[in-house]
Amino acid sequence: MGGFYWIASYPKSGNTWMRLMLASLIEGGAPPDFTKTMGFASAAGAVTDMDLFLDVESSDLTPVEQAELRHDLAVVTAAAATGPQFRKVHDWWGLTPAGRPLFPPQVTLGSVYLVRDPRDVAVSWAHHSGLSLDDSIAFLARPGAVVATAGRWKDQFEQRLDSWSGHVASWLAADPAPLLVPYERLSADPAGVLAQVAAHCAITASDAAIMNAVTVTRFDRLRREEETHGFELGQRRGRVFFRRGLAGGWRDTLSAAQADRIVQDHGPMMARLGYI
């Protein structure tokens, strides 16, 4: 019997960076290999997992059936595993249409929730998705927002994000409570945060391995690797995945009115997290 560590976040909040760090750490600090598809912590909403573990052609299922069966997929996959599984998550911490948890507590070994200043998220999401800054800001404010919209075949199921504030609120209230990892702290002290995440996920790691993992996943290094080998993870075709990786980069990109709108949309949650 296995179980899951969910590496969860709203998109563009450091999820891939964290997973690259953890993947490296588990390999004793080995550098990421961008010539291969990333194998560590695949998406929790991956269609092929449902085909395999629930014995059904999931692309013949309706979006509601798919959403409902994700609870069962987690339970069955955990039962079939012999050890802990890591999964990337962009869904909010929510319920299936019949009211069962998408991330069942009984198979959750732990969760890591990465959060980032929504002003930086809005800029990064605009670049990633090809939306204008204004549309990206509106997307972050939209209750019930989804990604991987159902309707034709995708390799991931439709995932409900909700608004940025709704996403954060759902995970802060998750059962069991996640380890909260602000992107800004990860950026300022990657080794310290990685050590904390590793401990939360019961990964035994030496200080040297942590230092190695941090070094080989420095942002400039990931960007160089992407320039050489490419890195495809859902970004709009032709755009780079690893862009700037700055905390506070919004200041030279958003207009004052745009930044103000985000604060209006998400003020209470931004205040709760210390962003304003």
Binding site: T48, D51, D55, V56, E57, D60, T62, L69, R152, H229
Partner: protein, 315 residues
């Protein structure tokens, strides 16, 4: 009591059809299957409409969709479509359709997971693959959902390669002459955008599910209705990071991709047929000279290249 619903109104007596070389007698109309033209044998597979218990007595509920009883009976169910009970010898399937299910929906899962259970029970090996005729032999293209099997099947079909199967290729490993592909039925399931890329409209096509933009494309002309020796097994790959063209994989990689090549591989574990199916798969790999891989063609030039490589695959 036998449920009667519009989707399942049969005409005079059960339909007498053929699927993968089996004689199928069915209370449920099966319009995509060709009529049985073989000998006067009793039905190999009987499909009835009737009641299916919600829980098999002492049934092992593996997950909400599948139960397996200690005596080998297997139940597959999807609330909006219906419940299916497969006998332990794979000779009978009882279907209890859900009230508003369409015939297309009921047959979608009948020809998917349910027929896979029938195959496992009858000692046949179902591959997650489409299959076309090349010369006088068959080549199967395997891969996960969404990798492009149906698009490949339909494209090769439009280029003159007769189709044997779309999503599930059933292989008979029991004959003396090596693996043979048993032809399925002349239909391909495609999403609207894939159909439109092939220059086909969805007008007049039946939907796989009432609420999905995915349709059955009939391919009556150019369907190969006779079994053929399987000469090549090729796994489709979506990643653009692998080289173009068809390449032979090392033996260990071929074995490692079992889950991507077999159809519903975990059913083997549920049904207890894994020893037999694994042995069959190993023999199959041996007789086709190993698993090959093909980067999914996307441009006309890449399709031409695949076509040029096919004769070498069948040797």
């Amino acid at each position: 009591m036998t449920p009667t619903v519009d989707c399942c109104a049969a005409g005079d007596g059960p339909a007498d059809r053929t699927l993968c070389g089996l004689r199928v007698l069915s209370d449920l109309p099966l319009p995509e299957l060709r009529p049985w033209t073989g000998d006067d044998r009793p039905a190999d597979l009987r499909i009835r409409l009737g009641d299916v218990p919600g829980h098999l007595e002492e049934g092992l509920a593996i997950h909400p969709l599948v139960q397996v009883a200690p005596d080998g009976r297997c139940r597959f169910a999807l609330a909006a479509v219906g419940a299916y009970l497969i006998s332990s010898d794979g000779r009978e399937v009882v279907i209890a359709p859900a009230p508003n299910a369409t015939g297309d929906e009921i047959r979608t899962f009948l020809f998917g997971t349910v027929f896979a259970v029938v195959c496992h029970r009858r000692g046949l090996l179902p591959l997650h693959a489409c299959c076309v005729q090349v010369g006088d032999k068959a080549v199967a293209f395997a891969g996960d959902s969404g990798v492009g099997k149906s698009t490949l099947a339909a494209t090769l079909w439009t280029r003159g390669y007769p189709l044997l199967a779309d999503d599930v290729t059933v292989v008979d490993m029991n004959g003396p002459g090596g693996p043979r592909v048993l032809p399925a039925f002349p239909r391909v399931k495609l999403w609207r955008d894939s159909l439109e890329r092939l220059g086909r409209s969805v007008d007049g096509l039946g939907a796989v599910r009432a609420s999905l933009d995915k349709y059955h494309l009939p391919v009556e002309e150019g369907f190969c209705a006779t079994s053929l020796p399987l000469a090549g097994l090729v796994q489709l790959e979506k990643s653009r990071k692998v080289p173009a063209g068809i390449r032979l994989l090392p033996v260990t990689q071929g074995l490692g991709r079992l889950n991507m090549v077999l159809y519903r591989p975990r059913l083997m574990l549920r049904l207890g047929t894994q020893a037999q199916q694994m042995a069959q798969f190993l023999r199959l790999l041996g007789s086709v000279g190993g698993l090959r891989a093909l980067r999914r063609p996307e441009t006309p030039a890449e399709w031409d290249e695949v076509e040029a490589l096919l004769p070498a695959v069948v040797g």
